[in-house]
Symmetry: C2
Subunit: 151 residues, 2 copies
DNA sequence: GGATACCGGACCGGAATGGTGCGGATTGTA
DNA sequence: TACAATCCGCACCATTCCGGTCCGGTATCC
């Protein structure tokens, strides 16, 4: 597993939907239709994404949502962070104090290392890439992630 | 979030505990003491780890557990896979059929890409490294993930 | 044969997640 | 100015999943 929340999955779907039409302002209803996600869920997600600073909202009649930044500058890591909070694999990284095992935690420092790696992996893919049906043939494994991230 | 299950965290703790004493056979009780994890939980985890082929068990009096392979050949990814099943960030990757959004899933192929990256990240750290208080200074971020993976 | 210890389930309570609804605030239009 | 469209924030509920426990069974050693 190690899965992201289903809502986060929907969230990226929404974001890519927005990314396909950067110049338009789409309302929640319209986004629900295009992304095939239930309308109430869409509304909930958009609120979180607004709070996270990833999309901008326009209130009132003919209001709606659009990306706050260019799709090439928004990464999957941004979306995940906005919807699920800071990316931290281990629970321990958060509730600093109450760890009953603290003493024997030689592995803690190593987990952070893994955290960083995962964060990098998620930061390597932008919304613009997600919006494309397939980012090129599918660059083979040997290509370093960091190279992809900076393209 | 994007967190691994707490049990998985404990699981790696157990594995590192075993890694510290490769030649001994430790029983569940003893492992519970050393890892500071509740005994019943330890037992449960060990069952899963055995099933996953990561540890070997000896039954009967003076039985116990030990690593099935050398600590340098067991990665965190192995442990996570044994305890949580195949590493797949998206839920969609599993329940193949019932996706209501299938048509618009241009992003699916891109998620797999991220899956691979995360998998690589987890495969990059071995038990032997986790057992050490700190794997060298902490190789800086600019190092490409894939380079770490193959070291 | 008895004690030790693993094995494979079933089982349960609590938390988190996914999903829904409602009153309120803001903006455009008639 | 009144009304409609639309976002906003919060509270709420049901279900699922997770962490944790227990028990009967089996294998091995003394």
């Amino acid at each position: 597993m190690l899965k992201i929340a289903k809502l986060t999955d929907y969230g990226t779907l929404l974001m890519t939907t927005l990314a396909l039409e950067p110049s338009s302002v789409l309302n929640a209803q319209e986004l629900a239709v295009r992304s095939h996600v239930a309308a109430p869920t869409v509304a909930k997600l958009l609120k979180l994404l607004v709070k996270g600073g990833l999309v901008e909202s326009t209130r009132g009649a003919h209001g709606g949502y659009r990306l706050a930044r260019d799709a090439t500058t928004i990464t999957v890591a941004d979306v995940v962070t906005a919807l699920e909070g800071p990316i931290a694999i281990t629970a321990c990284a958060l509730h600093g104090g109450g760890c009953t095992i603290e003493g024997s935690c030689t592995s803690r420092s190593n987990w952070r290392l893994i955290d960083d790696a995962v964060r990098d992996a998620l930061s390597a893919v932008t919304l613009a890439q997600m919006a494309q049906p397939r980012t090129r043939p599918k660059f083979a494994k040997p290509v370093p992630l960091s190279a992809v991230a900076h393209e």
